[in-house]
Amino acid sequence: MKILYFSWLKEKVGKSLEEIEKPNEVHNIKDLIGFLKNSSTKHQNAFKYPKSIKVAVNKEFADFETLINEKDEIAFFPPVTGG
């Protein structure tokens, strides 16, 4: 899976992109966040308040229940502030 981070999430995680193999126990976004939080203290800190984080799967807005698979591009970011 390709995982992208934007804005302050990118700064907290310390990278804009990481590629991981989908762990068997990860079925949806919520599972993925749980897995990532265990991968480093930076991730743990970045995902501390999941309610303030938005997610997109394959460039479409998704939610924490959205099912994901190996080939997905998943992006985490704070609420958008364009315009």
Binding site: S7, K59, E60, F61, P78, P79, V80, T81, G82, G83
Partner: protein
């Protein structure tokens, strides 16, 4: 078939050229053309800012702006729409965004442009950070923008 123009770019834009371009792609003469330009302000929450940096999610941004434009075209009888949004580092007073709608009807043009801006604010993956003194501060999303969008439902 409504024509839709969407561009995400570092470069500045010239309002007149873009409006002329939008007008030229309409399949009939629009009697009404509404447009909106957003600029970089010099103050944010009382703090003087020096520059504004805009990050975005390439690919998703264009997709969302196109979806927003098409949704507007389904809600109102439009002849064409235009959205240009810049990214990168901008100076105070610089143009950030242009949204415009062309229609036979004045009201449709006004509402569609406002709708596109409201949705852009809450659905297009852009993130702003302001340079205040020596710090870059991420701009926080405003509840007002979320509410502005909701009234179109």
């Amino acid at each position: 078939m409504v024509r839709v123009i969407v561009r995400v770019q570092k470069e500045n834009f010239i309002l007149q050229n873009e409006i002329d371009n939008l007008k030229s792609i309409c399949k009939e003469i629009p009697g009404a053309l509404s447009s909106f330009v957003g600029y970089v302000r010099d103050f944010s929450n009382g703090k003087k800012i020096s520059t504004l940096t805009i990050e975005h999610y390439p690919g998703m941004t264009e997709k969302m702006l196109t979806d927003i434009s098409k949704n507007a075209s389904q809600k109102w009888p439009l002849l064409g729409t235009l959205i240009i949004h810049r990214f990168g580092t901008l100076n105070v007073n610089d143009q950030i965004v242009l949204a415009a709608s062309a229609s036979i009807h004045r009201k449709a043009a006004f509402e569609a442009t406002e709708y596109m801006m409201d949705y852009l604010k809450t659905s297009a993956p852009f993130w702003k950070s302001e340079r205040v003194n020596k710090d870059n501060v991420w701009v926080e999303a405003k509840l007002d923008d979320e509410l502005a969008k909701d009234r179109w439902k």
